[in-house]
């Protein structure tokens, strides 16, 4: 067990998975020579050679499209999208092919593609380096989506994604790439997809979060200490969702606040609220509240703190819910 930053944990996972399976290769913009703009792929080219850590032309649809063909040739590509908002061209391939090809082959051909990308705001970056685009990906049939919130989960979920027979998209909270350090198991380590984690136990309100919003929710829980006992549920995998964990927590607390930094409308929090309306209505003591980004373009960074969900906004929602 070592202490690693979140991005070091990702790098550790990649080294172990490339060593474990000779069919795994890493491809993307600047992943080879420089080891990725965040150094997530540092050292892979030196260890595994330039055929398994490939600097591609600057074309996101081309990266994911060639990955489809690589799967047909027996490879398991791990594609890096350099930034959240730069990934949108790859949605063409994701929606039209990555999520459909296995189905189209009658289940006969597998497309074990992993797409990983840094996502999210709060990093004082130029426009379009801050998005939280998970809803587009979750909405795509045939694709699984995971978002780690800790270094250990960043390692374990990435390993699970690479080993999974289905396409998996991993969003990595770039805000915490280097600001978060935590214990990470040595060697091969897998966190199964589809299992949520109770990040903090509580009995009055459940705050549901994922990725960079999990530590924020934990801070809000601390801020509310003495006022309310807050449970923080880290979903870890958005698809498939661990419904059992969600329903179990709600059965205990009866109150739910869902936090996401993406814009509100049709975001993942809306899906959580809908599931609770369908399956937990009698457990609820009040409405499911959302704390989200707003339905606007992600603002320039002098304004981003006003846009991003904050400890104060989460605490406010918890208090409103308790007063309902």
């Amino acid at each position: 067990m070592g202490e690693l930053t979140l991005v070091e944990a990702i790098n550790d996972a990649l080294h172990h998975e490339l060593a474990r399976d000779p069919n795994v290769l890493v491809m993307g913009e600047d992943v080879g020579l420089v080891g990725g703009v965040f150094r997530a792929t540092a050292g892979l080219r030196e260890t595994f050679g330039e055929d398994r850590c490939i600097d591609t032309p600057l074309a996101e649809a081309g990266i994911l499209g060639t990955a489809v063909g690589l799967c047909m040739a027996g490879w398991r590509p791990v594609c890096e999208m350099q930034y959240d908002a730069f990934s949108y061209p790859c949605l063409d391939q994701l929606i039209n092919h990555v999520g459909r090809y296995r189905w189209r082959s009658g289940g006969k051909m597998e497309f074990p593609i992993t797409v990983r990308m840094p996502y999210g705001g709060g990093v004082r970056a130029p426009e379009l380096h801050d998005d939280s685009p998970e809803a587009y990906y979750v909405h795509t049939p045939g694709v699984k989506v995971a978002i780690p919130s800790t270094p250990a989960d960043a390692k374990g979920l990435l390993a699970a994604a690479i080993r999974d027979p289905d396409p998996v998209v991993i969003f990595e909270p770039k805000l915490h790439y280097r600001t978060m350090r935590g214990s990470v198991p040595d060697g091969e380590y897998v966190v199964p997809l589809g299992r949520a984690r109770v990040a903090r136990e509580g009995s009055d309100v459940t705050v549901v979060a994922y990725g960079a919003m999990v530590p924020l929710a934990e801070q809000a829980a601390s801020a509310l200490a003495g006022e309310a006992s807050v449970e923080v549920l880290d979903l870890r995998t958005l698809k498939p969702l661990d419904e059992d964990a969600l329903l179990a927590s709600v059965a205990k607390t009866g109150r739910v606040v869902v936090v996401q930094e993406a814009p509100r409308t049709c975001g993942y929090a809306a899906e959580v609220a809908a599931i609770l309306a369908e399956k937990a209505i009698l457990d609820l003591h009040g409405p499911v509240l959302r704390v989200t980004g707003y339905d606007v373009p992600y603002p320039y960074w002098k304004l981003e703190d006003a846009y991003m969900p904050s400890v104060a906004r989460v605490a406010d929602a918890v208090r409103r819910l308790l007063a309902f």
């Binding site: 990955a67 489809v68 063909g69 498939p240």
Partner: protein, 352 residues
């Protein structure tokens, strides 16, 4: 980078333009090419009838495109991969795929699913040009494994406007992927003529920007197509990377069964093109060489017609698919919610 702008031709016109020959093709090869042309032509013409009879759904006609498909595939080995667009929907027949499978695809039936690895034929790509990167990736992936297989991606003139085409071509050029980029330039994208698609003098010119050599062939000349593809495949196997082939032809039929070209195409031009269509031209070539007596022609066309009769019967004999197939195969390990959804669907269907 070399771009040949002159159209390559082998088949003459029986009058002023003499017939050429392709080195290495013997009479048996020529007759096999003919058999394959007739097979695809028959598939296409029968499909139009089946559509009008309500036995298949909307269908993308490939009449007068057969020479490009047959000529190109004949230059491949069975290990090489084919990436078809919907215009090449029946190209799997050239690799032994049952015609019933393709008919089922056009009938919207899951019996139209196939495993690409069974035939080295990828799924039919419906969105324009998005399979070009797949072909580049497959070809590159084979090369990385030290295998000699190459890939051919078929796409139309309209696809050369799509980003996917450019990204796939660029990847293939940079990675020296053993790929043949085969453009069937039939000069129309539904109702949009080539001059509204591009300001380039030829589509082959586009290859220059990717460091890829290009050739232009008469797309209605099966022998010219074969010869050009054979050269491209040889380059690919020699590690020299991709080649772009622009096969120039004319869409002498509607885009699809739902299309009415009379509002945008000059019917006189279509008639002219229909007179020089690709199967008839190859028949003339074979006749001039004394290789196609009437009885052989009747035998080949009769066999193809019989194959299609059996294929549509087999496709129509498929039972209606079980609703379970709505959920099957989307994931290797489906989410638990699918069980619930299927159970609810079955209950409602039973009540209905």
């Amino acid at each position: 980078m070399r771009v040949e702008r002159d159209l390559r031709r082998v088949i003459g016109d029986g009058e002023s333009l003499p017939d050429g020959e392709v080195e290495g093709l013997d009479d048996a090869d020529l007759l096999e090419l003919y058999r394959q042309l007739v097979l695809l032509r028959t598939y296409d013409e029968r499909s139009l009838v089946y559509h009008r009879q309500g036995r298949i759904g909307t269908y993308a006609i490939f009449w007068n495109h057969e020479a490009m498909q047959v000529g190109a595939v004949y230059a491949l080995s069975d290990d090489d991969w084919i990436f078809p667009s919907y215009r090449e929907s029946a190209i799997g027949l050239l690799r032994g795929m049952p015609a019933a499978t393709v008919l089922s695809w056009w009938r919207g039936h899951p019996a139209g699913w196939w495993n690409p690895a069974d035939y080295n034929v990828a799924s039919i790509c419906v969105p324009i040009g998005t399979h070009v990167p797949h072909a580049a990736g497959l070809a590159w992936g084979k090369k990385l494994r030290g295998e000699s297989a190459c890939a051919v991606a078929f796409f139309g003139d309209g696809a050369t406007s799509e980003g996917s085409f450019h990204e796939g071509a660029n990847f293939a050029g940079v990675l020296k992927a053993p790929l043949v980029l085969f453009c069937n330039n039939n000069q129309w994208a539904i109702s949009t003529p080539l001059e509204l698609q591009t300001a380039a003098e030829t589509l082959a010119d586009k290859a220059v920007g990717y460091g890829i050599p290009a050739a232009r062939v008469d797309g209605a000349d099966v022998l010219a197509v074969y010869e050009a593809t054979r050269e491209a495949v040889a380059r690919a196997r020699a590690g020299e990377g991709p080649t772009f082939i622009e096969a120039v032809t004319y869409r002498a039929a509607p885009h699809a069964t739902a299309d009415d070209p009379s509002v945008y195409i000059d019917p006189a031009r279509v008639e002219e093109e229909r007179r020089r269509e690709c199967v008839g031209r190859f028949e003339g070539y074979l006749r001039r060489r004394g290789l196609l007596p009437d009885e052989l022609r009747e035998q080949v066309t009769g066999e193809a017609a019989q194959l299609m009769r059996e294929a549509i019967a087999a496709a129509e004999a498929e039972p209606d698919p079980d609703p379970e197939l709505v959920f099957a195969h989307a994931y290797a390990a489906p989410p638990a919610s699918f069980d619930h959804d299927l159970a609810e669907l079955r209950r409602v269907l039973a009540d209905g």
